[in-house]
């Protein structure tokens, strides 16, 4: 069962990373015209950077760390080091980290009636391209679906294994 649960953990790590990406996209789209932020600048685009995460604190990994190895007091004893027998570390989980992208330049929009317009009537708007955001959203949502399929398949496998 350990194998199947780690498949579910793996799928879950993918789901959580892709959900972070969807969150970032939603935030970007919602703030497409935000001119006021606590730093005094227009809103800055956020995006998620994905990375491999081999040391994820899953149940299995934590369990292996917690299990005490048996004392080896005689050379005839079989080595029982739970961490060495575990091959969990070789297959990486995934993790997403949200980073704020420093824009090269904010978008300049001419709108003299806007309260934040400068003396020439220009307003600085966030540098967000809706098309890019939509593409990111579709990518994240497809990847999310793929991970859902993985979890569903692992669940089905666990069920049939219990039917033996």
């Amino acid at each position: 069962m350990k194998g199947i649960f780690s498949i579910i953990d793996m799928g879950a790590s993918g789901l959580s990373a892709q959900r972070k990406q969807l969150n970032a996209v939603a935030e970007n789209i919602a703030n497409v015209e935000t001119t006021r932020t606590p730093d005094g600048t227009p809103y800055k685009r956020k995006r998620v950077v994905f990375e491999e995460d081999s040391e994820k604190a899953t149940f299995v990994n934590t369990f292996h760390k917690a299990v005490q190895s048996l004392a080896k007091t005689n050379i005839k004893h079989i080595a029982n080091d739970p961490t060495s027998s575990s091959k969990e570390g070789t297959v990486p989980f995934v993790d997403g980290e949200e980073v704020v992208v420093e824009p090269e330049a904010f978008k300049m929009v001419y709108d003299p009636t806007h309260p934040d317009a400068d003396e020439n009537g220009n307003v600085l708007m966030p540098d967000i391209n809706i098309v890019t955001e939509m593409v990111d959203m579709m990518t994240a949502s497809r990847a999310y679906e793929a991970n859902v399929t993985v979890v569903r398949s692992a669940k089905q496998m666990a069920t049939v294994a219990l039917e033996i």
């Binding site: 498949i7 993918g14 070789t90 297959v91 793929a146 398949s153 294994a161 039917e163 033996i164």
Partner: protein
């Protein structure tokens, strides 16, 4: 007493269980679940730049179980561990393909999803056939129709 029981278990393992398809099906389920895990890792890491996708050689792993290429440990003493019962290391290989059209890494989602479906079916097959094998043994043991 313990020694006697262990010997008896050995005989059942050797003469009954190993003559059915059970060891092979066990291996099939082990291999498919390991493969499923690698596929899951590949799908989870689909957006990681520079990720190296991994897989295993299904044919090779199964060939070992069927008896080809198998280096069998001799059991010369009943206290020896049964080699077929020990944990079988499954070899993980890095896929050789270059970066795919996404330009990010070499995970091919279509291939992985196909793998996922195939593995799931094979695993279910293993499970169902194992049940049948056990049921056959059970009815032989009961000896009645």
């Amino acid at each position: 007493m313990l020694k006697y029981c262990a010997g008896k278990n050995m005989i059942i393992q050797d003469q009954v269980i190993n003559k059915t398809g059970i060891p092979l099906l066990k291996k099939l389920m082990n291999v498919t679940s390991a493969s499923q895990k690698l596929t899951a890792a590949n799908i989870a890491n689909v957006s990681v730049p520079g990720y190296q996708s991994q897989s295993l050689d299904f044919k090779k792993e199964m060939a070992e179980a069927v008896g080809k290429e198998k280096i069998k440990l001799e059991v010369t003493n009943e206290r020896h561990m049964n080699p077929s019962g020990g944990p079988n290391a499954i070899k993980i290989i890095d896929d050789a393909e270059e970066t795919n059209s996404s330009g990010l890494n070499n995970v091919d989602v279509d291939k992985e999803m196909a793998n996922l479906a195939e593995n799931q079916i094979l695993y279910s097959y293993g499970s169902k056939m194992l049940t049948r094998n056990f049921n056959t043994l059970k009815s032989v043991i009961r000896g009645k129709r």
